[in-house]
Amino acid sequence: MRTTSDIIIVGAGIVGAACARAFARDGLRVTIVDAAMIGGGATAAGMGHVAVMDDNPAQLALTHYSHQLWQELAAELPEDCEYDPCGTLWVAADDEELSAARQKLATLGNRGVRAELLDAQQLAEAEPQLRSGLAGGLLQGDDLIVYPPCVARYMIDQAREKGAELRLDSPVASLGGDHVLLADGTRLAAGHVVNAAGTAAVRLTPGLPICPRKGHLVITDRYRGFIRRELVELGYIKSAAGGATESVALNVQPRRTGQLLIGSSRQFGVESDKVEPAILGRMLRRAIEYLPGLARLSAVRSWTGFRAATDDNLPLIGPWPTVPGLYLATGHEGLGITTALATAELLADMLAGRKSKIPREPYLPERIHG
């Protein structure tokens, strides 16, 4: 395998894989390096939800752009990627949340994102398993879900077909803007390096404003038709955007297998990846509050993962000013799957000197120092 490339990507998660695919498509000689396997980190632990999110304009622009790219990718994804445009239904528990839903509708409408407001009756008809007494909801019918580890594998295969090389089980000792030093002593040289290592990015590039944010998930047995769309409470936004040490929010997803994926939880400052019964319990009780029928369903597995979170809830996409040649593609928090494709395009544009489809300033790492 070569030790000199045009670009080295550290991290074979969904973000690194998307980058590899985009760079290889642009004709660059790409080497991808990972300490373990493809898609084994946050990529494996998350929900695989691709959602247009409007917490702030920059987030909306990035998720909307990326979502369109996912829709374009749909046709070529293999079966095991489980592409499913089931839609997201934001659930409003009370009138205050329903107004928030109306605002969302307006914001999304301005960008041409398909969304529909549901009143209490329509909500009940759309998702009969939801408890009574809810105020309504917002349906984003084009949101979709995928199975990320297999998508990452597919994208790396695509990159390799165009000449990219892959080094798995290769922990990185250090990296700079023009080289990567593997723990086994191998030195890889390149014109540029991309740090797409998720929560491990900080170890490789000290000073990155990234904190790991732990999440728990539970998956049930097969109950096809229990819910039709991914159900998320409007309070999810507060949980994700807020800096609370610990929070849970309803997020239940119907997988194509018929299994229900139950989230979500967020914790800062926890190092252990052990499943913690207390917060797991809180998360499940929250879910049962909205979906009482969930209580007696069979839960088969639980696990945890760590999101790479930044202070301003926007990812770091672009050159890292203090290390010439080094690019960052990390800090995606809970939107790594959603924004992986747009992240790759923005970086590919930067490398090729092309104008991007959306403004890239909000995500540039230089904002940290500004």
Binding site: M37, G39, G40, A44, D80, P149, C150, R153, V218, T220, D221, I262, K274, V275, P277, A278, L280, G281, L284, R285, A287, I288, L294, A295, R296, L297, S298, A299, V300, R301, S302, W303
Partner: protein
């Protein structure tokens, strides 16, 4: 609040080891005995139509019935939320169990080796056949072929014969010299067992016992109708109503691992008092090394006495235990699985039965973790209990850490939700 019970000594598993531990500990502490089956006995002393003249089982079950302790049957441990606390499920509802000392006697399950047709209905485990028959499965007049590895095959065959099944064949994969050598060792280590063995030979006088023989395929459309065997390169096909196959036993290590007990070479590491690397947690029986009921009883007694601080009486059983451990080692050596069994699966033979993952999809992968993530192997209801040991045997993959729930449980139980119902104490 969920039902909450407190114990000084909590014993998990009501097989021989757990029964002995519970009886020993009850002389000095408030004891709870928990098992997911409706009655005690575990696998080997499973209640139902009893094995003819199993005096030891009768003795111990009688002793248990006369012992003062709290029985929690039909109760399954699902999580260990914090030291000193287990979360269990009883009839879909959560039960919290707190303990000062914990004795794990979780037993073992059968190892299954995938081969073409192994998923057909009426292809069952060897211990599986025994369990089903004890639960009432009628086998009179049925033609049952038994295969796999170990002395269990003979005891299951004899049992099936007693209940009126025709058992034309017991096919043991181990070579004849291994089995014969083990027979000689039996003479040295445990004459009683040899007699038991020859006793089987009488009740199985119409049964062919072949060594160096194993199945290559099971055939049938809706259920098994015949099985092809090979011996020394020759193959032939046996018609049958059922095929019972068991390729040895795998300790149920999930709960010890979840609790953080050190595991080495596939068994829980314990000291002379059966205490694990986690203070206050003891293990006894198959999970410290597959070795049969007699050894399990000894270990259970030692653990029970040690848990209540009676090390002096526990020490009286050390020598006998040592003999049992040596016997177990001889047994495992004699019946170790031969490499030819790795060649049995076809490309489209399922290795993971819960998620229908074929051998072909797995053999290109390099680890248990990649198999799980890319194919869903091991992510189904059995949580890797069947496919895990199969994959370990076929590909050499090491297993991962264990997370709750230990068994599929209701979302409500995992959430630790309150129940209004009172618990019926058995």
């Amino acid at each position: 609040m969920p039902t909450h019970e407190r114990f000084e000594v909590l014993v998990v598993g009501a097989g021989p080891a757990g029964i002995a531990a519970a009886c020993a500990a009850s002389s000095g502490a408030k004891v709870g005995l928990i098992d997911d089956n409706p009655s005690p006995g575990g696998q080997i002393w499973r209640s139902g139509k009893p094995a003819a003249g199993d005096h030891r089982a009768d003795h111990w079950l009688r002793q248990l019935s006369q012992t003062k302790l709290m029985r929690l049957y039909r109760t399954q441990i699902v999580a260990a939320p914090e030291p000193g606390l287990l979360l269990a499920e009883y009839e879909g509802e959560p039960v919290e169990l707190s303990y000062d000392k914990l004795i794990l006697a979780c037993g073992a399950r059968e190892r299954s080796i995938p081969f073409p047709g192994w998923t057909l209905p009426n292809v069952v485990g060897a211990g599986g056949l025994q369990a089903l028959v004890k639960a009432g499965l009628p086998v009179k007049g049925k033609r049952i072929v038994i295969t796999g590895s170990g002395p269990l095959l003979l005891s299951v065959a004899a049992y099936a014969r007693q209940l009126g099944a025709a058992v034309p064949l017991v096919a043991e994969q181990a070579a004849w010299y291994r089995v014969a050598g083990f027979g000689l060792q039996l003479l040295w280590l445990s004459p009683g067992k040899l007699w038991q063995g020859t006793g089987y030979r009488w009740s199985l006088r119409n049964t062919r016992y072949l060594t160096g023989c194993w199945p290559t395929a099971a055939h049938g459309s809706a259920k098994v109708e015949s099985v092809t065997f090979q011996l020394g390169g020759q193959t032939w096909t046996e018609p049958c109503d059922m095929l019972a196959c068991g390729f040895g036993l795998v300790p149920n290590l999930e709960l010890p691992i979840l609790l953080g007990c050190q595991v080495r070479d596939g068994v829980v590491v314990v000291d002379a008092r059966q205490e694990t690397s986690v203070p206050g947690v003891y293990c006894a029986g198959e999970i410290t090394g597959v070795g049969g009921a007699e050894l399990a009883l000894l270990e259970g007694r030692i653990a029970g006495l040690a848990a209540i601080g009676n090390t002096r009486d526990a020490a009286r059983y050390f020598t006998a235990r040592g003999r049992g451990v040596r016997f177990a080692a001889a047994l495992n050596r004699a019946f170790s699985l031969r490499h030819e069994l790795r060649e049995l699966p076809d490309d489209d033979t399922f290795v993971c039965r819960c998620e229908d993952v074929t051998h072909q999809r797995l053999q290109v992968l390099s680890s248990w973790r990649t198999a799980k993530l890319y194919t869903r192997c091991g992510m189904g209801r059995c949580q890797g209990r069947v496919c895990g040991p199969a994959a370990a045997f076929l590909f050499g993959w090491k297993h991962e850490s264990v997370r709750p729930p230990l068994f599929p449980t209701t979302v409500e139980t995992l959430a630790g939700l309150p129940t209004g119902e009172k618990r019926n104490h058995e």
